[in-house]
Structures are given as C-alpha cells and as structure tokens.
C-alpha cells in the first residue's frame, strides 16, 4: 500500500483519487448488478468514501484493517487493486480470493486487509486478534476495525472491544454510522444518541467525527493510532456518514425519502473535498475532470479484464478454503481432475 500523507498536496490529490476510485468502482458495480452480470449480492459504499480513505490515510502500510459486507471502499482505501477486486466480483480465478469469495469476502493479508465479511460485527474480533498478535510479537502495527452502526448492537463487537480495552491492545474501533442498520434508522436500534458513548462502558476514549469530511476522519484516526502504538490501548471513533444506495442493490428503501438522501448529498464528501482543494489551488477544475475521466476509464478497463478472465477450474472448487487438508476434498478434487472437470 502506498501510504498517503494527507497533510501534503500530493497526498491530498491521491486521497481525492482514491475516493473517486471507490465511487466509480461501486457505481459501476451497481450498473453491473442491475444488468444481472454479477453473481451474489453487492453492498455499496457510495457516500461513505471519506471514512475509508480518511482512516487508511492515517495508518502505516503494515497496519491491519478488518472490513464489513460493504467492503469495496475499505479495499481501495487500503490500496488494493481494482482490477483484482472486479475479477473477484465476477468470480474469476485471478480475483483476490481466486473467484471464490465474491464481493463480501475480498481479502489481501499481505496488504493488511484481513477481509470483508458477510457476518455483521465479525470484524472487530479479528482486529482484536490482530492487535493481540502485534502486542505478543512486539511489533508496532495497529489493527483498525471498520464496522457499521448495526454491528454496535452485536455481542461479539463488545467482547472484542472489552478485551482490547482490558489488555491495552493496539486497536482502533471505527464505527461507520451510515444512519441505517439495513432498513432500521439508527435511533430505533440504539438507546444512546451518539454511538461513541459506548466507549464509556470500556473506559476508553470515544468521540464522534464528521464522516463526510476526510480530514476530520484522518485526524481522528491518526490520534487514535498514535495512542494505540504508544501502548495506551484502543479508541472508539464514530464517523457520521451516509450511504447513498440502499442496504443492498435492489433495496426499495421504504424507510427513507429522497429528501433525506438529498440532505446528506448536499454535504457530499468528494464534492466538498474537491472544492477545498480547488480553493486552495491544490488542483484545478480541469485537472479534477481529467482525474475523474482517467479513473472512470480505469474501472471500465477493470470490467473488461474481469470479463475476459477465466473462471476457476471446477476441480479447484474446494481449494483455498481450509488451512489444513481435508481428505474428502482431496478425493473430490482428484476425481474432478480425472474426469477433466465440468464443461463450462
């Protein structure tokens, strides 16, 4: 991963590029899904780009993140390759999980991305585990868990935070409060008004930041990372944000109105950051348009490459799934190879 220094002009342009890449990737994924070209479900990150990019900008390259079912943005923010992500969405062999994970399981351990996850609230325990590993090995890496407002009501999330807090582990818990847990508004899910109040139960700092402002998220995570790396334990950050798309593609969204969405689009993270950079002279309007066109083409190319790529061989259907050999799977794979595999 290329580390962004968002305090420099180059870093700010790169942060803008990553936010635009996320939006282009997920906007394309929506089109592909509605055209029936993608298998499985997709949950899109459009609107929340400042959280992922702001947070990852504050991390070091060998730090870890855990993700959610809405993970494309986290992947791109951490520096993963959109070509290999798109291949994974299409179920192709050159995807990050050899085409067997799909949208909700993209992972790249070498890049510090410990996986998107279809189970709500499954990321924080993984982050606590990664933080414990770092602590036991005496490393200086930090693990950051992205999770949603719905996950805050899940038991394992609290177990993870409690353990990390009790053991002063180098973890950061970042809840992306996008205002809805599936179809339920956040105020109907939780008895606290700010989810960051949850931190008080664990005797760790908790605070809320504007998740539509990449610089606010960056600063918050930077301070939390420093605290974690200094051995002072985890921090709980709530980033208030909004997803422009439904919970999943195809969601009819009866739980909100167009006016609700418009209020948040009025504070769009990409548009406001672009405006600030243009005002500061960091980028011109023409350079922004050029960057956007370049990214749109990059994503179109990723789709083309993904479509042209091969599916995994059926004989490998059960490979890459278990750490230890499973005799029944070995037998199955041998049989498939002997048969020459299924005709696709």
């Amino acid at each position: 991963m290329v580390v962004l220094d968002i305090e420099t002009e180059d870093g700010q342009r790169e942060a803008l590029r990553r936010m635009l890449t996320i939006r282009a990737f997920d906007t394309k994924a929506a089109d592909l899904f509605s055209d029936g070209e993608l298998p499985g479900f997709v949950h899109l990150y459009v609107g929340e780009e400042a959280v992922g990019v702001g947070a990852c900008s504050a991390l070091e390259s060998d730090d870890y993140i855990t993700s959610t079912h809405r993970g494309h943005g986290h992947c791109i923010a951490k520096g993963l390759d959109p070509d290999l992500m798109m291949a994974e969405l299409f179920g192709k062999a050159n995807g990050y999980c050899n085409g067997k994970g799909g949208s909700m399981h993209i992972a790249d351990v070498d890049a510090g991305m410990l996986g998107a996850n279809g189970i709500v609230g499954a990321g924080p325990p993984l982050a606590t585990g990664a933080a414990l590993t770092s602590h036991l090995k005496g490393e200086d890496t930090v693990a950051l868990a992205f999770f949603g407002d719905g996950a805050v009501a899940q038991g394992q999330v609290h177990e993870a935070i409690n353990l990390a807090a009790t053991w002063d582990l180098p973890a950061v818990f970042l809840v992306e409060n996008n205002q809805y847990g599936e179809a339920t508004p956040v105020e109907k899910q939780h008895n606290v008004q700010n989810l960051s109040e949850t931190a008080e139960a664990y005797n760790i700092p908790g605070f809320t930041v504007d998740g539509m402002d990449i610089t606010a998220v960056y600063e918050a995570v930077k301070e939390a990372r420093k605290r974690a790396a200094d051995g002072e334990g985890p921090t709980f950050i709530e980033a208030e944000t909004y997803r422009y798309h439904g919970h999943f593609e195809g969601d009819q969204q009866p739980y909100r109105t167009e006016e609700d969405v418009a209020i948040w689009k009025d504070r769009d993270a990409i548009e406001s950051f672009k405006r600030r950079l243009v005002d500061a002279g960091t980028i011109t309007g023409a350079e922004f348009d050029e960057m956007k066109a370049e990214i749109d083409q990059q994503i179109e190319d990723a789709v083309g490459k993904a479509k042209d790529a091969a599916y995994p061989d059926p004989s490998e259907a059960y490979e890459d799934m278990f750490n230890a050999a499973v005799p029944e799977i070995s037998d199955f794979s041998s049989g498939m190879r002997a048969d020459g595999g299924e005709d696709r």
Partner: protein, 337 residues
C-alpha cells in the same frame, strides 16, 4: 398571556476528539436529557408556558418531549433537520420571532450558532460542551426557572441580561471576501485543514481576537486573559499575536504567558503583541496557509489571504441566572404566604 420558551439541545456537543487529545470531560446525551428535563421542570415556576423544542436526528429531542411535565405545552419547531450546526441556527431564527426566551444546552459552538440568528431574545446558555467560555455549568432546574421568569416578564429582560460582544471576521482573498462571525474568540491557526475542528496543539496558534478575556477561561480568551481582563459586555475586545519559533515579529520582546489552552493542558506561550481594541477596530493577519478557529473550533480554511478581525458589540443578550432568581426572590415571588 402564554410565555413561549425555545429549547435547543445539541446532541453533538461534548463528543469531539478532545476526549482523546485533552482532559475534556464526556457530556453524554443521557446527561443532556436529564438536564433538559430539569429545565422543563424549572419552567413550571411560572404559569402558562409553551416550550418550542428544536428537533434532531438522534431521538434526543423526542425523549425530552416525551418526558415533559404535563402542565407544560411542548411541541417541536417545524423545520428540516440537517444534523449540523444549521439546525441550531434555523431553530434560533424561528425563536427570534416566536419565543420570549431561549434555553441552550451545548457549548460555545452551539451558543454561537444560536447567537447568529436569535436577535434580541434573551438566552440562557447551559454548558454541556467542551472547555466552554460562554455557557455556564448551571443546574437545569435553576436555568429553566430563570428563563421562565425573564420570558414571562416577571423579571424585566433589560435588567437581567448583558449584551455579549462578538468578533467579526473578513477573510479577503484576491477578489472575494468571506464574512465569519464568532462569539467569544476567533483565532488564526497554522494548520492545513479544518479536520476534527478542535484546536489540538497550542503551538498551532498564530493569534486572534477575543471579545472577552480572563485567566479563568480556557483557550484564546485565557491567553489574552493572562495579560488583560476584558468583560463580555465591555465594548471592544483584545487582539494578540504569538511569537512563534522564538521570533517576536514585533519591535518589543515577547511576553511569556501561562494559559490553560485546552482542558488538562497548561501551556506557556510567547505573546509578541497584544492590544485592547475599540469596538470595530481591525486587527489583521496575513495568512499563507491556515485555518480560522471560531469559539474553539476550526471552521474555515484560508490560503493566501488577509484575515481582518474586529470586536463588535452586537452579540446575544445573555441572562444572568443568579441575579434573575435573586431579583425574583427580593420581590417575594418565592413566598407563598
């Protein structure tokens, strides 16, 4: 005649990053809800009160209304909720025409937002934010009682309020001027962006103008207060410029000042220059790259601009809670026989 009291409870106040970077205390929304409940109870000191409550997106206002005493008429202001400072300004604009007094639960930022549009309506400001200068940590019941007494006219507003000063700012960049208004303090910081809004590092402070100063206050007004005391209702204000990296930038040597810049942080700063300013007198900074802070929060990014600050005596009318209640007691309003 019915007395109309406006109520602004900012669910975001007291939740920012200073809980991590400084010693700021947590102000959770359960505490705000309880305080708001106390305000409503205090308002029952006077008869025939209607309360207009600012709605929010968190459910906090819903709970406050649900918990309200039966003998108060309580309803929401009809407004669009944006989950930002715009809500406090919109509610205050409504109260300017429809309320006899307003109670604000929040910090300096919330009080400033209300002050922008509240006009002459008396304001009782209760601290639930971070290292506040303007709002006071007063019991909600006491504050509610005072608001009721002033709003109903039982204690004349003219005798129970003071006019707080403000700081007006022109940010001039080539062909355009942006106007900003602060309540107690406006600062110029050497930071690249607004970010988490809080002033994280005192060494970022370049200078500023305050409409009040006292060593008992935290932040920019505390720095100026180490040199000169300026009451909130005194005309004018204080401008100062810090010496950075050992350079005074002025003809006189820097004055070293101890000040509480954020909770838990007693800093030493070198003041290159300070000046008591008349009402409307400009104090300017040339800024290559920086941020304007308003009432303790970074608000506006500046690149290659001139920042002109001036104190202006046209702020909100703040209710002196203690003197209101003492005046009411002197007039026998607490005696039943």
């Amino acid at each position: 005649m019915t007395t109309a009291i406006g109520l602004v409870v900012n669910p975001a106040a007291g939740r920012d990053i200073r809980r991590l970077t400084g010693g700021a205390s947590v102000s959770n929304n359960y505490a705000k809800r309880r305080t708001a409940g106390c305000v409503l109870a205090g308002l029952t000191l006077v008869d025939d009160v209607d309360v207009l409550v600012m709605p929010d997106s968190t459910g906090l206002a819903d709970r406050i209304v649900d918990d309200a005493p039966d003998d108060l008429g309580v309803e929401f202001v009809d407004m669009t909720v944006t989950a930002s400072g715009r809500d406090s300004r919109a509610a205050a604009a409504h109260f300017a025409d429809h309320a006899d007094a307003v109670v604000v639960l929040g910090g300096d930022g919330t009080t400033r937002d209300v002050a922008q549009t509240i006009g002459d309506v008396p304001v009782v400001s209760i601290s639930t934010g971070t290292n506040n200068v303007v709002p006071t940590p007063v019991d909600g019941t006491v504050a509610g009682a005072a608001a009721g007494l002033v709003g109903s006219g039982a204690v004349p507003a003219a005798e129970a309020t003071t006019r707080h000063g403000t700081v007006e700012v022109d940010v001039v960049r080539s062909e355009e001027t942006t106007v900003i208004r602060g309540l107690a303090t406006v600062g110029v910081l050497d930071r690249p962006f607004v970010g988490t809004r809080a002033i994280l590092d005192p060494s970022d402070i370049v200078g500023g103008v305050v409409s009040r100063s006292s060593p008992a206050e935290i932040g920019l007004s505390g720095i100026a207060g180490g040199l000169v005391t300026h009451r909130p209702d005194d005309p004018g204000g204080v401008g100062f410029r810090l010496s950075r990296d050992g350079e005074s930038g002025a003809t006189a040597p820097a004055t070293r000042v101890k000040a509480i810049t954020v909770p838990g942080n007693l800093s030493t700063v070198d003041v290159a220059e300070h000046r008591v300013l008349d009402d409307g007198e400009d104090y300017a900074f040339e800024v290559d790259r920086g941020v304007i802070s308003v009432d303790g929060e970074r608000e506006h990014e500046v690149r290659d601009g001139t920042v002109r600050l001036r104190p202006v005596s046209d702020g909100p009318r703040l209710v002196d809670v203690e003197s209101v209640l003492e005046r009411a007691a002197d007039e026998g309003r607490f005696r039943l026989g």
